[in-house]
C-alpha cells in the first residue's frame, strides 16, 4: 500500500525476498534497529540499493565507504530526516524494536525523539544559551519546570563530558565555546531527550585531533547505555571506536562484520581494496 507522508511515497514491503547481502555474523536476537530492503532516491538518483542490516543494541556500529556511497542517506532514513528533502523517495522498512517507523500510525516526532542525531558541523542554536541549548528538546515541547530542566541539563552535560568545562558559563551563547565543545554540546542536547539510539554523521570531521579524541572516548562510554551508529569516512576512527563496521559502496552494503575481523581479514575483494587504500 502507498501512503503519502509529507510529499514522499512509502511502500510497505511485507513479502520481501531474502536480502542479497546476508548478515555474516550471528545476528543479535534483539537488534534495536533493523533495516530491511531499503531503497532510497533523491529525485531520479538511486542512492541506496536494497540494503538490509541489523544494528546490535548498546554497541557502536560504524558505516564506512567512499563519498557518495549512501552512508549519510542511510542514517537519515533511520531517523526519518530523509523525507524532509523535497523529491526524496523511500521503499522498504526500518524497524525500531520491531516496529516499522514508517508505519501509518507512527508519529514522526516520536521517532526522532527516540533516535537522536549529531551532525558533521556542530550546530548549536546561536540565539540560545548553553543551558537552553541542552534542554531545547524539552523546552520547545512545552516543559516549564525550571528545577527539572536544570537537572536534565546537568545530567546531559555530564554524560557528554562537558559539565566541568561549562558549568560556570551556562548563560553564555551556545556559539561562544570552541568547536569541540560545541559538538559535545550538540551531543548533550541529543542525550537530554533520552533517546535509545544516537546517530552520528561524521561527527569529528570539523574538529581538531584533540577534540576528536575526546569525542571518540565519549562514544565509547555512551555505548554502555545507548546504541550508537556512526558514519565516518575515516577508517582508522571506525577501527578505533566501533564494535561492528559496515562497508557501503555505490548504495549497496558490501560487507558487514565485527571490526577486528573486517580490518584484519575482510571477506570481499572490494572491501580489501577500499580499506587498504587501493581506491576511493
Amino acid at each position: 500500500m502507498y501512503s503519502e507522508i509529507e510529499g514522499i511515497s512509502v511502500k510497505a514491503n511485507s513479502d520481501s525476498a531474502p536480502a542479497v547481502n546476508t548478515i555474516p555474523f550471528d545476528a543479535e536476537r534483539h537488534p534495536i534497529v533493523e533495516v530491511r530492503n531499503l531503497n532510497a532516491w533523491y529525485g531520479a538518483q538511486h542512492v541506496i540499493s536494497d540494503v538490509s542490516m541489523k544494528f546490535k543494541r548498546n554497541h557502536v556500529t560504524a558505516i564506512i565507504g567512499p563519498s557518495g556511497c549512501g552512508k549519510s542517506t542511510l542514517v537519515r532514513c533511520i531517523n526519518r530526516l530523509h523525507e524532509l528533502v523535497p523529491s526524496s523517495k523511500l521503499t522498504g522498512n526500518v524497524m525500531l524494536d520491531g516496529v516499522d517507523i514508517y508505519g501509518k500510525q507512527i508519529d514522526v516526532v516520536d521517532v526522532r525523539r527516540r533516535i537522536g542525531m549529531v551532525f558533521q558541523k556542530p550546530n548549536p542554536f546561536p540565539n540560545m544559551s548553553i543551558r537552553d541549548n541542552v534542554i531545547a528538546g524539552w523546552k520547545l515541547a512545552g516543559v516549564r519546570d525550571k528545577k527539572r530542566l536544570d537537572e536534565i541539563a546537568k545530567n546531559a552535560l555530564q554524560q557528554a563530558f562537558l559539565w566541568d568545562e561549562v558549568r560556570d558559563k551556562l548563560p553564555n551563547s551556545g556559539a561562544s565555546i570552541s568547536g569541540g565543545q560545541q559538538q559535545r554540546l550538540c551531543i548533550a542536547r541529543a542525550l537530554a531527550v533520552e533517546p535509545e539510539v544516537i546517530l552520528m554523521d561524521e561527527p569529528c570531521s570539523a574538529l581538531d585531533p584533540t577534540a576528536t579524541a575526546k569525542i571518540e572516548e565519549l562514544i565509547s562510554k555512551l555505548s554502555e547505555n545507548y546504541t550508537v551508529i556512526i558514519v565516518t569516512h575515516n577508517m582508522q576512527q571506525a577501527s578505533r571506536v566501533a564494535d561492528f563496521t559496515a562497508f557501503m559502496y555505490l548504495g549497496k552494503l558490501i560487507e558487514y562484520d565485527e571490526t577486528p575481523r573486517m580490518f584484519e581479514n575482510p571477506k570481499e575483494e572490494l572491501t580489501e581494496r577500499y580499506i587498504t587504500g587501493k581506491f576511493g
Partner: protein
C-alpha cells in the same frame, strides 16, 4: 597508483628475499662442512648478517605499522614478515650451531655420515620450498611443508632410538650425528612455520593449535 606504504612494503620484501638466499647458503655451507670435513668459517659471518637483517626487518615492520596504520592484507603481511624473517634468521643460527659441533668434535672422517646427509637433503629441500613459497606466494608449496616436517621429525626420532639401543661404537660419531639431526629438525620446524605464515598472508587463516 602506488600508495605511500608500497615503497616500505617493497623494501621489506627484498630484505626477506636477501635473507632467504643467505640463510639457504649458510645451511648448505654447514652441511658441506660436515660431509666434506671442511671448517665452514664463512657460516659465522652469514649468521651474524642474518641477525642484523632480521633486526632491520623487525624495525621496518613496526615503523610501517606505526606510521601507516595498515589493515587487511597489508597488516597480515607485516605480521608475517616478522615471523618469516625470524625463521630465516634461525636457519642461519642453526647452521652456525652445526659448524660449532664440527669445531668441538674435530675429526669425524671415520663416521658414517650417510643418514645425516640424507636427512640434510630433505631439510635443504624444505628450505628451498619455503624460500620459493615466499618469493612466489605459492600456497600449494606452502601447504606441503608441514607434511615434509613430519618426515624429518621421524628421521630424527629414529636415529635417537637406534643410538639409544646400540651398544658401543664411536660416541663422538653418535653424539655429533644426534646433535646435527636435532638442528636439522629445528630448521624443518621453522620451514613449516614459514609455510603457515605464507598461508596466513593469503587467507588470514592460522592453523589450529593442537
Amino acid at each position: 597508483m602506488p600508495r605511500l606504504m608500497d615503497m616500505g612494503l617493497d623494501q621489506l620484501n627484498s630484505l626477506l628475499l636477501d635473507m632467504a638466499t643467505l640463510s639457504q647458503q649458510a645451511v648448505s655451507a654447514s652441511i658441506d662442512a660436515y660431509s666434506l670435513g671442511s671448517k665452514g668459517a664463512e657460516v659465522r659471518q652469514m649468521s651474524n648478517r642474518l641477525r642484523a637483517l632480521h633486526r632491520q626487518v623487525s624495525d621496518l615492520s613496526v615503523e610501517m605499522i606505526a606510521r601507516y596504520q595498515p589493515v587487511a592484507s597489508d597488516l597480515r603481511f607485516l605480521k608475517a614478515c616478522m615471523e618469516i624473517s625470524y625463521g630465516f634468521f634461525r636457519y642461519g643460527r642453526y647452521a652456525l650451531d652445526i659448524t660449532s659441533v664440527l669445531e668441538m668434535f674435530g675429526n669425524l672422517s671415520s663416521c658414517d655420515k650417510k643418514f645425516v646427509v640424507d636427512t640434510a637433503k630433505k631439510t635443504q629441500e624444505m628450505i628451498r620450498m619455503s624460500v620459493e613459497a615466499f618469493a612466489k606466494r605459492d600456497l600449494e608449496t606452502a601447504r606441503n611443508l608441514p607434511k615434509m616436517d613430519d618426515v624429518v621429525d621421524e628421521s630424527y626420532r629414529r636415529n635417537l632410538r637406534t643410538t639409544i639401543e646400540k651398544k658401543g661404537g664411536d660416541i663422538k660419531c653418535a653424539l655429533s650425528a644426534t646433535l646435527i639431526l636435532r638442528y636439522l629438525e629445528r630448521i624443518a620446524d621453522h620451514a613449516s612455520y614459514i609455510g603457515e605464515s605464507i598461508e596466513y598472508i593469503a587467507t588470514g587463516i592460522e592453523p589450529k593449535l593442537d
